[in-house]
Structure formats: C-alpha cells, structure tokens
C-alpha cells in the first residue's frame, strides 16, 4: 500500500454537533433499523493527521464499563483541519452505534485515530476520479471528494441506496464533485437499479477512470469484477469492512485474503481499509 501509517492518536474528544439523527424510510435497512447519525467532533490532532479513507476507532461505552467491550471503527466522513474537527456518519446497527447516537454536544468520546491507509489521491494527468458509494459507504467518499476537489482533480460521483431516503450526504458529495448520479433499488430517486449500473455508464464515458468504491460487499464484488474486465484492467480502490478488535494491527483479527496465489492475509485495519481492487479476495 502506498501511504504511510501515521502515529495514531488517542484522544478524549468532545462532541461539537450532532447527533442529527435521520430516520430512513421503512424498508430502507434490512434489519428494520435504518437510523443514520452524523457527529461532529472537536479532535484537532486527529483532524491534523487524517487522510480520507482512514478511520477512527471509537469506544462505545462509558469508562470502566465492559459491555459492549470493543471499539467500533468509523470512517472519517469529513476532515476540517482549519477548525480541528472531524465528522463521522453512521448507521445505527447495534449497541455500539446506538450508544454513539445518544451522545450530545459537549459529551466526551474516547477515540483512536487516524488509523489505517487512506485512499491514494495522486492522479496522473488525464485520469478522472470516479467515486461510487453504496448506502452508508458514502461516509469516507465525502472526505475523499473534498480532498480531490481541493486539489482540483477531475471528479465524478455516483451514489446508490435501496430507496431515496437511504441516499445520504448527497449534498456534501455534490458540493465537492459537482454532480452526483444516483440510483435506488426501487427507483424512488435517480436510476432504478444498482449503482454499479451507473458506474458501468461512467466507465464507458470517462477516458482514464480511477475508481474509489465503498459500500456493501456484493457491490464491491461487482466493482472488482468490472475493474478486472476484458483485459482492460482499470485502476480502482475499495474501502473494506471486517470485524476488528484492536484496530491497530496487533491482534490480527481483521484478516482479508490476499489475491496473490498461495499467500496469506492482509489486515484491514493496518494494510487497509483501502485496498487496490486487484489485491484482495472479497469474502475470503
């Protein structure tokens, strides 16, 4: 992986804004939850060191309480170095994210970060960044879009979800990317169908695309396949999720199989969460 691990910082940071919960429409989330929140955190040291695609590892219980035990990894959704703030965008799926959804401005949060390898953002002349988000996978892509835009890199974005209500942070993404092509399973917004179908259209039109994708595993598999297609391999990066314990490379818990034949595992927290698409075997 290209980028260098920066020294992670553990800080007790303060909630600045949020949670600004938003209830997605019924049927949005497979499990019937589907509640999204955004937290703005005063975390100058993390903001300063962070790069898009990296994550923070957040404690989701009060000090001295051991259930839930483990930290939860959340991507950096926005990085505001000038204000020393970061934002995370998350879906409530269980007890950890449920705890975070209950925080209020002024509360303290114990986090470690920035962790892992971010997205490589050096585009060659003529290359265009193509961002593809599935559901909550939009979280890290907003930070990426903002960095690419700040660099003046050419950039297009597509976001998909099950329904229009699940299309998150499209405004933020649009502000940086200019336009966001959308897709929903039920056609309630944008293209009716998968966001990978929108991606296919983009790949046909963009000369030298560099794909950045984050979303559910089936979507990432499809992206991976599209990038490897027909001999004309395209450059692309996937942001992956695995269950994690330490988040820093010490426990070897977050294994994902390397694509190189015969060899072993990458560790998502340390070698990723962003990988070149051809490096990893998804679901391995």
């Amino acid at each position: 992986m290209p980028s260098v691990v920066r020294a992670p910082i553990r800080e007790s940071v303060r909630v600045v804004g949020g949670p600004d919960g938003r209830i997605a429409g019924p049927g949005m989330a497979g499990d019937g939850l589907g509640l999204f929140h955004r937290l703005r955190l005063q975390a100058p040291a993390v903001a300063d060191a962070a790069r898009p695609g990296q994550f923070v590892h957040v404690r989701c219980a009060p000090p001295g309480q051991w259930d839930p035990l483990l930290r939860r990894p959340l991507s950096l959704h926005r990085i505001d170095r000038s204000r020393g703030e970061i934002e995370v965008l998350f879906r409530v799926v269980g007890r950890g994210t449920g705890f975070l959804a209950g925080l209020a401005a002024g509360d303290e949060v114990d986090l470690i970060g920035p962790l892992g390898q971010g997205f490589p953002t050096d585009l060659a002349p003529g290359e265009t960044a193509v961002l593809v988000a599935g559901g909550i996978g939009v979280a890290p892509l907003v930070a990426l879009a903002e960095e690419l835009a700040a660099k003046g890199a050419p950039l297009v974005a597509a976001a998909g979800a099950q329904t229009a209500e699940g299309l998150l942070a499209v405004e933020s993404l649009g502000k940086a990317a200019g336009e966001v092509l959308t897709a929903t399973d039920d056609g309630s917004a944008g293209h009716r169908g998968f966001v990978t179908e929108v991606l296919a259209g983009l790949l046909d039109h963009v000369a030298r695309p560099v794909v950045y994708a984050c979303g559910p595993e089936p979507m990432l598999r499809r992206v991976q396949a599209m990038l490897a297609e027909e001999g004309r391999r395209r450059r692309g990066y996937l942001s992956l999720e695995t269950r994690m314990a330490c988040g820093v490379g010490a426990c070897l818990g977050c294994a994902i199989r390397q694509a190189k034949p015969g060899t072993a595992y990458y560790h998502v927290c340390h070698d990723g969460p962003v990988f070149a698409a051809e490096e990893v075997v998804l679901g391995g």
Binding site: A7, P8, R10, R59, G64, W66, D67, P68, L69, L70, R71, D110, I112, T242, R243, M244, A245, C246, G247, V248, G249, A250, C251, L252, G253, C254, A255, I256, R257, T263, A264, Y265, H270, G284
Partner: protein
C-alpha cells in the same frame, strides 16, 4: 514511591506487568502509543516453526464483556521472527518473552532450540493450548502426559527459563500444572482462553468459520483468578496471572491469589494504554495502602499459597 520491581523466574522486571501473547503483536503497534520500556516484559504473539497464514475471517467476535478469537496462530515462523521482529524487540527496554506454539511435539522443541541461540530472548512461554495434530486436534494442554512431553522436549533444547502457559479448559488444572513443573517448567502462565462459540441466528451458523474460538476479556476474569488461586496452592513455581486484567485492581486480584506477575491482553483493544495504567495504578495503590514493595502482596489472599514470593529486583 512503592517498589514494583520483581525477579520472576530469574528475570529482573521493572514491574510485574507484561503483555499477553497474541494481543500485542511483536510490540510495534502499541509501541506507537507508549514506550515499551515501561513494561515488566513483552510477551510476543505465538511463534511456530514455519510461517502460518492463520484462519479465514471473521476471526473475532464480541461477546458480553469479552470476545472470541480464532486467529489460527498467524505468524511469520521462527526464522523470520528472529530476522525481522527480534531486532527491534531487543531495543524495547523490557525483557522479551517469546510465546512458542506448535502442532507437533517436535515443532515445539525445534522452535525452542532456535530461539535459545537467537540472542535477546529472556524466556520462552510454551503455549500448550494449540490443537495437537498428532492426536486428532485436542489441545496438548488437556493431558498431563502430553504437557510433560512438550515441556520436557523444550527443556532439553534450551537453557532459557521456561514458562508453561496452561489452558483452563480442563477438569483439574493442578494436575497439568504439576506435570509441567515436573517436566522442567520454571514458571507457569495462566489462563489461556476458554473455548466458546457464537451462533448467528439469521445465518443459522457459527459466526467463526472454525466454529469455536477462544474467550478472553473481563468476562473470564473470575475463572482466571480462581485458576491462579488454585494452582498457586498446588505448585511452588512463580505464576503469571492473566485473563481479563484491565485495571490495577484486577491485577491485584491475581497478585493476591498468588501470581508474581500479570499480563494485560484483551484490555489493550479497549484502551491502548491499559498496561501503562495498570503499572501506574499499582504504584498508586501501594502508596495509598502503605505497601513498600509489590512482592509483599503476592499470595496475600491465598492462605495455601506455596510460594515462592518473587525476588526483590
């Protein structure tokens, strides 16, 4: 300032707080959070003869106040460990204890022999919880005769202090502990993880591909404290107590049960500074309770404690 130094199985330790094998890698990762020299000793991830890729994921799953792991002994093998990890560990400023694992009796001995001459290794911790491929995969550590063979095999191949790490998944830990000691173990380390399992009802299958995993964390602490209490009353060898240590008070439970040292494991995942806080907390506690030297507390709650007290470092 209270004196936290102890001599454990011949090793001079600044304090009795170590790292639990497999939770601390080879020290690099948490070395970015604090200076390793502040620890009593660093215990490495388990090392096998050849490199091992480990198990497919998911490898970890959270449980109430604990977690299961099924890492599968992923490690670079003893040669690459010596070449790539040991050099920086030697600079850590704390004694390095290498955790030795294997799937055959011979493998343990080979690894021990190789580490004996590597230089910069303070002691070996023999992890007898690995599945024994010679005997159908049941862990070495559940049968006293096999433990004796493994430990004896290592004993013949090294003069380094040997610490046998016991699995709690047995009817009577004291029988296993005695077998290890009689075969030449200088010290004991307990406990390794409890065998456990989580099933995903929606998927209708175990979360871990290998079905079972090792349970660790605060949830297991009462089992671990009792294990130390029991073994410390049965054998006269120093003990490293571990299993759910997250605070100085937890560490004191193990010490008073009869452990001369403790190790922090899963708690690192909750707080990278957990071990540092345990060290500081022990010093503060001793200060507050008028204890000059931590060694005085070893076995303090265990009337049957057999000793030995650790030496004063």
């Amino acid at each position: 300032m209270a004196d936290l130094g102890v001599v454990f199985a011949g090793l001079k330790l600044k304090n009795p707080v170590m790292t639990a094998s497999g939770t601390f890698g080879y020290g690099r990762e948490y070395g970015r959070f604090f200076a390793l020299g502040g620890l009593g000793a660093v215990v490495t991830k388990g090392i096998t003869l050849e490199a091992r890729a480990g198990n497919p994921g998911p490898r970890v799953v959270e449980t109430p106040a604990g977690m299961l792991n099924s890492i599968g002994l992923e490690n670079p093998g003893v040669e690459r460990f010596i070449d790539e990890e040991l050099p920086s560990l030697r600079q850590a400023g704390a004694p390095v204890i290498v955790n030795v694992s294997g799937h055959t009796v011979d493998e343990y001995g080979e690894v021990a022999a190789r580490l004996d001459t590597a230089g910069g290794v303070a002691a070996l911790e023999i992890n007898v919880s690995c599945p024994n491929v010679d005997q159908g995969g049941m862990a070495f550590g559940v049968d006293p005769a096999t433990v004796a063979t493994v430990v004896g095999g290592c004993r013949r191949r090294t003069r380094l202090p040997l610490i046998t790490k016991l699995t709690p998944n047995v009817t009577d830990l004291t029988v296993i502990a005695r077998a290890a000691v009689d075969a030449g173990s200088d010290a004991l380390s307990l406990i390794n993880t409890l065998v456990g399992m989580v099933i995903d009802p929606v998927a209708r299958k175990p979360v871990l591909p290998r079905t079972v995993g090792g349970l660790s964390g605060p949830a297991v602490r009462p089992v671990a404290v009792r294990a130390v209490y029991e073994v410390a009353a049965a054998v006269d060898r120093p003990i490293i107590g571990l299993g759910g240590v997250a605070t100085a008070e937890d560490a004191l439970q193990f010490i008073m049960a009869g452990a001369s040292a403790v190790a922090v494991g899963t708690a690192f995942f909750v707080d990278p500074l957990a071990a540092v806080k345990v060290v500081d907390g022990l010093a503060a506690w001793c200060e507050r309770h008028g204890v000059d030297w931590i060694g005085e507390l070893v076995g303090a709650a265990n009337p049957a404690f057999k000793g030995p007290r650790p030496g004063r470092a």
